[in-house]
Symmetry: C2
């Protein structure tokens, strides 16, 4: 059976969830036709660890906060990302560091180093995809490897690969989505009469919202995802700056409650639409949707995307948009895609 050596770049929630799957559930991967061996980890807090024979996952998962890899064979307290990515015996680099929405760094460099050294990259990191997706995909092709990033939109819920694989022969005219669970949860709470601030505090208490909820509330998180959808599904070549963006900070409880009385629901909608001249218009903003709209019924922290297609009309997929295990599954689906490529079973 094929074994893929993994290098985990970033050892936070998502990559830890992937490591737990590798530790606890090897049968899941064997039933897919391969085994996974983690041969390197590099992380800002833990430092770096490279062990070509395979890292003892249970041991590193049990390390307390504040510990480092220093003193372990092949270990260092320093996050030697570049060295690990370029020189470790990994087949696949799993990039799951934080998202920098402006430069994409350091994730963009991580991806470049990996692809240039002939390693596949799977990532859940929106930054490199939204800012440099087209260039990085080309770089992967030049190096005969794959750059896979299903988790950059809606965690493990299939969206990008669904559109590419399930809609063969269809023309996608546009996409519309609820792409941020926090803002959707907040708008739902405001339907019960809560103020924006109260609803945000609720979301924080439930762990949906970050301490600083700005990216969720003001739409900049969705903006990155819209750029990805526009480029991937509509063949655009835009950056997040090209996405006209308004958040939900201007929506009042009064707006939301009054809309509900009219059978409508306010949603933060990210969308990209092909215009008559062939260009793609992309935007993020609050929209009051009629109850019959396929996105009107998407409740709580759930995410959804509706695809407008020429032969099928509107098709919608909804599911989790976050969560460490749900996002780790996106990496699994990306590794399956790498495996299909390696085994020659995906057409170029």
């Amino acid at each position: 059976m094929t074994t893929y050596n993994l290098a985990l770049v970033g050892f936070g929630g998502v990559n830890r969830a992937l490591a737990e799957l590798v530790r606890d559930d090897p049968d899941r991967f064997e039933s897919l036709g391969f085994q996974l061996k983690i041969v390197a980890i590099t992380d800002l807090a833990f430092g770096s660890l490279v062990q070509a024979d395979g890292i003892d996952i249970a041991a590193v998962l049990a390390m307390p906060r504040g510990a480092t890899f220093e003193g372990l064979p092949g270990g260092s307290k320093d996050p030697r990302n570049q060295e690990v990515i370029k020189s470790s015996p990994a087949d696949i680099v799993v990039e799951a560091t934080f998202t920098n929405p402006t430069t994409g760094e350091p994730a963009v460099s991580h991806v470049r180093w990996a692809l240039e050294s002939g390693k596949h990259v799977v990532t859940t990191n929106k930054g490199p995809v939204a800012l440099h997706g087209i260039e990085l995909t080309r770089l992967a092709e030049e190096n005969g490897v794959r750059f896979e990033y299903e988790g950059s939109v809606m965690s493990g819920t299939p969206v990008l690969r669904l559109a590419k694989k399930m809609f063969a022969g269809l023309q996608i005219e546009g996409v519309q989505g609820i792409l941020n669970g926090t803002s959707n949860y907040v708008l739902g709470q405001m339907e019960t009469g809560l103020s924006l601030d109260q609803a945000v505090a609720d979301a924080q208490a439930l762990g949906y919202a970050e301490a600083d909820p700005t990216a969720d509330i003001e739409g900049s998180d969705v903006r990155l995802k819209v750029a990805i959808l526009a480029n991937e599904l509509l063949g655009a070549d835009i950056t997040p700056q090209d996405v006209t963006t308004t958040g939900i900070q201007g929506i009042t409880p009064d707006d939301v409650v009054r809309a509900l009385g009219d059978g409508k629901r306010w949603k933060l909608i990210g969308q990209a639409v092909r215009e008559a001249d062939g260009s793609v218009a992309a935007s993020v903003g609050p929209v009051s949707l009629p109850a019959s709209h396929p996105l009107a019924g998407i409740s709580g922290a759930t995410n959804a995307v509706s695809f407008d297609t020429d032969l099928l009309g509107s098709v919608t997929v909804s599911g989790p948009g976050a969560g460490r295990i749900e996002t780790a599954y996106a990496l699994v689906s990306d590794i399956v895609a790498v495996d299909s490529f390696e085994k020659g079973s995906i057409r170029a």
Copy 2:
């Protein structure tokens, strides 16, 4: 470029829509890497026509009702289904005759003849899949060809192939769906206070419901689809008779309006769930869903399926469940799957 020769069995709405795509939009197929040539048609009303060099599609589509293929080269007024399926120079047999929910005939025989003579089968016909899907898939494997039937559930909206291709490595624990547009439309109309009979009359006026709406209202249409989902997605081996079935005929406008006041919506739900002992329990019946349920917001004639999975939780796809072009697209997606198989790009 590869050319696939098609034999159309049944020349009603769906196969006519496919023929129109072949006539009007060859670029759509060429961009997928193949060309389609219709070399045979057999139909109860028109009779049979076999022309190895390719039938003039525009001419046969323009034939008036009541005309037959008699007098055309290779034509006959008799529907010589068996002869056409076994002996025509088709690579792919496109089965789109009517669904017999009890025996599956004559479609089951059509599929058997095709597979036994080494021809791929693509079909939108629920009958053969619900009643003999496992056997026919085995027969296809024995003959080195494909049996594809995405359109048997939710027309061209990806459901069966989505679950198989997009959920690799996930365990599907259960599926729940709104699988009949007529009954969903009727329940929605009843929310406005209409009686069942009035709502059915509305659905008939809009072309959603047949002259005899029994199969839609009493759940027997959904029963077939639940059997397919249970066998395909949960590895069951059941027949439609194993699906406990209740229709919506017992639901009153009062029930529906009162539920709406409580924030709930009555839906006709088909479901299949894996039990603790590994067996699969399958049923069809009306359920009053809370507004937060992913199927509660599915309005009008739209269909939807929610998949319960171990790592992603609930993922839902919604889209058209009927329509001649939407259903013809299911055939296109099946032909893409046949093409991938022929080109060796799908793993067994």
